[in-house]
């Protein structure tokens, strides 16, 4: 039976047929014929027409893109201004969470949820405490967190996963921990590093160990990326990670990575005043340290208090045979002691310096002694001013300068005429640091010396303001 539906369908077939025939006769066949006669020319003409088509299409696309983006941006700006005025106060005020959620869900439309996620994300990284909790609660309610979890598990594109990982970290989403740990092993380093950062933001020390071990095994992750991830750990990184047994099974390059990092981070604990601000439990110590007079008296007591297993491990490590800890690791550990100002390590370091036969190790000990302001090592360092290795000479001069011991000025001044630029530089710098006596020493030397380089470096320092 000829139902209207069938009739339309038939017509469609008929018209389609004749259209195709038209194209093949008017376009395809002539083209085919020409192509057989003049292949190159036809191909060229044909390509030009295709290009024109593509260009026209792209032109329209550009304009479309631009209008789309413009519209989105304008909308965004308007909404953001509105939300800043109305929603942000809700987040920052001490309102109880359920009332807050009710008000919020009334104010924002469902279609705006995605844009809202964009609005609130920068604030996630800037805040802590109640306000942060409120923000995360909203994001949970409006499904943003769920969406990111979904992308992490199911997205095929690497960058989307990396982005999801980063956001989940900002949300401190503990439900995603398993997925994040999996992402830690991802082939793409951005995903892995972001995953590390995300896991660390949650502040769990167990996770910290996992993260470190996975990152270290990935040889594509450079020290810088490693540091970037670890810096996200919001609590203080303690020695315990560094000294844990596990570090032994990592290759040298990895140990180097950890030590390098902790060097950089714990270097910030370089003043007693800052110890107060640490969020660990030694607050009483902190109070003492803030009062400078008290601090001087009680410093020994404090060191004893900190002299728990951490220090003893260091001693054990440093005195172990080189087979277990190759020089490169020992060097890094030595640097570390210097940087974290473990003054109790000074006798150990002096001991090793006396015995050391390795130039690199010697250099790092001298540096550490300088950092620790270990004035008692001065005589030993003066000996090293005559080492064959220019870096050792230079570093010894530099360390002696830290002690500001005028007695060292004379031996150091011999280095002013040294062949090596850095030796001359540090010699002059160190003597200069010794105040009036240093200045006089330099001036006298300037008068006697015939070495133009020596003259140059001395003049440079004498003309600096103190």
């Amino acid at each position: 039976m000829d139902s209207p539906k069938n009739w339309e369908f038939d017509g469609f077939l008929k018209i389609g047929d004749s259209f195709l025939k038209l194209i093949s006769e008017q376009v395809f066949f002539p083209f085919h014929k020409h192509f057989q006669e003049y292949p190159i020319t036809t191909a060229l003409i044909f390509s030009v027409f295709i290009l024109i088509g593509i260009t026209a299409f792209l032109l329209l696309y550009v304009i479309y893109l631009r209008l789309k983006i413009d519209r989105y941006q304008n909308l965004k700006v308007r909404k953001f201004v509105n939300w800043k005025k109305n929603i942000l106060p809700l987040i920052l005020d001490n309102v109880d969470i359920s009332t807050f959620l009710k008000t919020f869900l009334k104010t924002i439309k469902k279609g705006d949820y995605e844009m809202f996620g964009e609005f609130i994300t920068p604030y996630l990284n800037d805040t802590k405490g109640d306000s942060l909790e409120r923000m995360i609660k909203i994001l949970r309610e409006i499904g943003v967190v769920k969406r990111e979890r979904y992308h992490l598990k199911h997205s095929n594109s690497t960058w989307r996963r990396a982005l999801a990982v980063r956001r989940l970290g900002a949300f401190k989403d503990s439900f995603s921990i398993e997925a994040l740990v999996k992402a830690l092993h991802d082939k793409d380093i951005t995903v892995a590093v972001n995953a590390a950062g995300a896991l660390l933001k949650m502040g769990d020390r167990q996770l910290l160990k996992t993260v470190i071990s996975v990152l270290l095994r990935n040889k594509f992750i450079t020290e810088e990326l490693f540091a970037e991830a670890l810096l996200k750990f919001e609590r203080t990184l303690n020695l315990e990670i560094f000294l844990s047994q596990e570090i032994d099974r990592y290759p040298i390059s990895s140990r180097f990575k950890i030590i390098n990092l902790i060097l950089q981070i714990t270097r910030t604990e370089s003043g007693p005043k800052l110890i107060i601000r640490l969020r660990n439990s030694k607050e009483a110590v902190g109070v003492i340290l803030e009062n400078e007079d008290l601090a001087e008296e009680l410093l020994d007591e404090i060191i004893l208090k900190y002299k728990n297993s951490e220090f003893i491990d260091l001693e054990k490590i440093l005195s172990k045979k080189e087979k277990v800890y190759p020089v490169s690791s020992r060097i890094k550990m030595i640097d570390f002691i210097g940087y974290i100002r473990r003054v109790e390590g000074i006798p150990v370091l002096i001991d090793i310096l006396k015995k050391s036969k390795n130039d690199e190790e010697t250099i790092s000990i001298i540096k550490a002694l300088g950092n620790l302001e270990a004035a008692e090592s001065a005589p030993l360092l003066v000996d090293h001013l005559e080492s064959e290795h220019p870096v050792i000479r230079a570093q010894a001069a530099k360390a002696l300068g830290v002690f500001k011991d005028e007695k060292a000025a004379k031996p150091i001044s011999r280095l002013l005429e040294d062949r090596d630029w850095w030796c001359r530089y540090h010699a002059a710098s160190s003597i200069h640091q010794m105040g009036e006596a240093g200045k006089i020493c330099l001036q006298n030397f300037l008068k006697i010396t015939k070495d133009p380089f020596a003259k140059g470096i001395i003049t440079q320092f004498l003309s600096k303001p103190q």
Partner: protein, 122 residues
């Protein structure tokens, strides 16, 4: 009711601080780079300065140094806003005379506590 200069180039942090200070009845003033900060310091009488360490043109420490050199400005208390890895700059800042510091990310409530503490001790 204090006039507080906030030297910070991140708009979001400014939004947070601005709102919190206003709800405590203070008057927050924004300078989003070092040069603007100096101009505002010259023109307006301030009770407190909250300064990020890294702002364009002159960083927080350089501004602090300049403040401490001028008689009319050196008594204004300063709270530094820093990030975790800039803590060694904090030490320098404290030595230069800053009263206190807060690390980012910070709790807005804690910020207010510190602001009030510093204003009280003035």
């Amino acid at each position: 009711m204090a006039r507080i200069l906030v030297i910070e180039d991140d708009e979001h942090i400014w939004n947070i601080i601005q709102y919190k200070l206003k709800s405590e009845n203070h008057e927050p003033i924004w300078a989003n780079d070092g040069l603007k900060a100096l101009r505002k310091l010259e023109k307006i009488k301030l009770d407190l300065i909250i300064s990020d360490i890294m702002v364009p043109y002159l960083d927080g420490l350089q501004i602090l140094k300049k403040i401490k050199k001028k008689d009319e400005l050196k008594d204004i208390p300063v709270i530094m806003l820093t990030s975790k890895s800039q803590e060694k700059d904090v030490l320098i800042g404290l030595e230069l005379g800053a009263q206190d510091y807060i690390t980012k990310p910070f709790s807005p409530a804690e910020l207010i506590l510190r602001v009030n503490k510093v204003l009280r001790s003035k």
